[in-house]
Amino acid sequence: MNKARRNPFNLAAAHGILIVYTIIALFPVFVILINSFKERRSIFREPLALPHSESFSTVGYETVFNQGDFFLYFQNSLIVTVASLFFVLLFGAMAAFALAEYKFKGNTLMGLYLALGIMIPIRIGTVAILEMMVATGLVNTLWALILVYTAQGLPLAVFILSEFMRQVSDDLKNAGRIDGLSEYTIFFRLVLPLVRPAMATVAVFNMIPIWNDLWFPLILAPAEETKTLTLGSQVFIGQFVTDWNAVLSALSMAILPVMVLYVIFSRQLIRGITSGAVK
């Protein structure tokens, strides 16, 4: 390492900035977590204090578990997120592979067309989407959400993945072709493992907006049995009275699964087991 980088002042400054940023980013989560374990009055009286023997209360969690079908909402959210991610990654990677690997007329145009969705927010088409879902009878099913989120995630996925697929060694794919592997085997067995870090990036980018989305669940699947977690938590927010204990508890629990998924994907980001394939 060179001297400039070892300079203690620079080092301290870099760490200082990172630590401050971490605190700012984690602070809201921290406040939600501590307040979810307090009784209602203490939440408002001293919102930044840690719960102590007087203010400690799990009433929020009790409300959440007793009222509404929290586990069902939870399950719905998980199904929608995981299924959407699966389809985004599968179709995104396939389209990216075709764009990167095969030379055909209109290849560049097709790439631009597929990337266009990055610039156009899907919510503009909400009315048309709702009409379409009504016509196909998909309203109030999880499929409605999965389809919409898949469409929403594909443009970015294609854009990022095709860039990475271009970097996969041609020799490796050609070696597969000479050994008689089908294009599908080459795609699934040779190329996908090599672009795994890019896949994880795309998954993380897509996961959080899907998990947190309120818009489409509210419009396309508001029925009791298809409510997602975010939508389900809204029952505690009323026009006149809001059950803050319940809202904060529901949010605290909603953080967990995303964190688990994030940890899984970020491990993939770091892992480099495929090095040494070429050169």
Partner: protein, 341 residues
Amino acid sequence: MTALTLKNVNKSFGKVQVLHDINLEVEDGEFVVFIGPSGCGKSTLLRVISGLEDATSGEITIGGDVVNSVPPAKRGIAMVFQSYALYPHLTVKANMALGLKQERRPKDEIEARVAEAARMLSLGDYLDRRPSELSGGQRQRVAIGRAVVRQPKLFLFDEPLSNLDAALRMNTRIEIARLHRTLDASMVYVTHDQTEAMTLADKIVVLRDGRVEQVGSPMELYNNPANQFVAGFLGAPSMNFLPAELVGGSPGTKIGIRPEHMRLGADGPIKAVVSHVENLGGDTNVLAELSDGTQVTVRLFGQHQIAPDQATTIVYDEADSFLFDRDGHRIRNDAPVVASV
């Protein structure tokens, strides 16, 4: 029987034609090397033979069958790539076995062939490792092993030694030569390294700009080049070209003399000033500048103490010189240089 026949093969990418009317025959058991500067189309030609690229026109015959519309896996070829291109998720053994598995060969046959190839390439200790756990030389041996187990009608090598360091390159080169002798297989080998071409080939094909410049055995090409390009491309250091006028030839023509055929002498026909001396121990390369500014290299055997900036003359044997016309074509004439020399 001929292992490979190319008949009027052309290849264009869009409007750019990269191969022009290539005609070639590779006999059974022959080792043919394609050589040329980068961008000459040698790798493209190899990819056309392998089926990874389609020829725009022309006929490709491997082992007697026209294979123009046969996919790479069914052409009876095996290919070794510059970047090894091993499957990262498979062990050495599985890497070698994959092609045979795809052909649905019986298990014991696959086992036997892999074991045989591993023995030949001394890979026995590494069979259960993954490519990432091997060194560059070992990886390339695995890649060669993967080709060997398929027992192809034709081996294709695409600059297989370019990623290896100098010592390993020589070892692997010898290994490939040995393999060719043991298997008695037909091989096509692409390289830009003329040492590899000279040492390995039965037949060298020199390519330039997508055209075949000359085909022949290494010594044929060395002793009897068809044109200035081939003469300058083979041999290291490369042949010196000087205006024939300097030694009384006709204007515009050039005479080519290999560095090892030149000597420094007291009263040679060519006046020169030594500009730099490279002592290599076994040889001494003397770089000298002629009166018209042409740089020539003189390769002397053994060790010589020569001071730079010293005026000298260069002596050569007329029989060792070649004459080329303005366009670089060889002028075949037994007495190329005027008698005044």
